[in-house]
Symmetry: C2
Subunit: 154 residues, 2 copies
């Protein structure tokens, strides 16, 4: 699915279009290559000024649920990176696929499966994939949140 | 860590005691056997009237963060099961380890890695591990939530 993207938009706020509004309990089936049945994927190949090679899938919270949070799966292609940015709202990130790096408050941390990152309010952060395999992680945020502010390159 | 448990308490609300209140951004390192550095684990061997063999780890949201959500990792031992219950608040569950079964609104679904479950308000649900290996999953809930109501055995 190709989604038109404002070149200034953060990779964290990349829009996804659900096929329909879902209702009621459900099981979203995991498929090979880290996709979920019925969940649209934003186009991998698009990019913007601040990020490159980021795909986004909205798993829970954006299709009619009443949760105070959204659960998204992000995947960064080899050589890709998310926007370097900050915001008041917090991130909870859990790595599911591959390996990557997070810059967090000026420090770099290598990440692998299960490693969990808490990004505090207004902390400048960026996720980078220097490997040759996809780097994927869950990112959970408040449903009501402020817009990210892009930070200058490190 | 042995934590005294009210025998009537839901396995979803099993108390965990953090070693200290954390502050600021951080990386919680995943350790082998699905544990996280510095995160206390409620005792596996305890049980209550409504559940058996459930361990709980609080990853994000219960140690001074301001998120509107809590991210917890639950692990159900072979032969174990969570409380059969319902509540107004919703669950978002993502399987990380092993295989298990969820009963959801009267239907049973087998679950494996990456499968994602949305439990709608007031839906009766129970997680069961009929396998010989641990069954582990992330469970994300609103920080402010109602207390579960136990449901009769199915």
């Amino acid at each position: 699915m190709k989604i038109p993207t404002d070149p200034a938009v953060s990779s964290c706020e990349l829009p996804t279009h659900a096929a329909s509004t879902l209702a009621g309990s459900r099981v979203l089936r995991f498929q090979r290559d880290y996709r979920w049945e019925g969940i649209p994927v934003s186009e991998y190949k698009q990019s913007a000024e601040s990020w490159y090679g980021v795909a986004r899938m909205a798993l829970v919270g954006e299709t009619g649920e009443r949760t105070r949070f959204h659960v998204r799966y992000f995947e960064i292609a080899p050589g890709g990176f998310s926007s370097r940015e900050s915001h008041r709202h917090e991130h909870a990130v859990i790595v599911l696929r591959g390996r990557g790096v997070v810059e967090l408050g000026g420090e770099r941390h290598e990440l692998g499966f299960g490693d969990t990152v808490y990004v505090a309010p207004h902390e400048v952060h960026q996720f980078v994939n220097p490997t040759s395999e996809p780097f994927g992680f869950l990112c959970i945020v408040d449903a009501e949140r402020d817009r990210p502010v892009l930070a200058p390159p490190s």
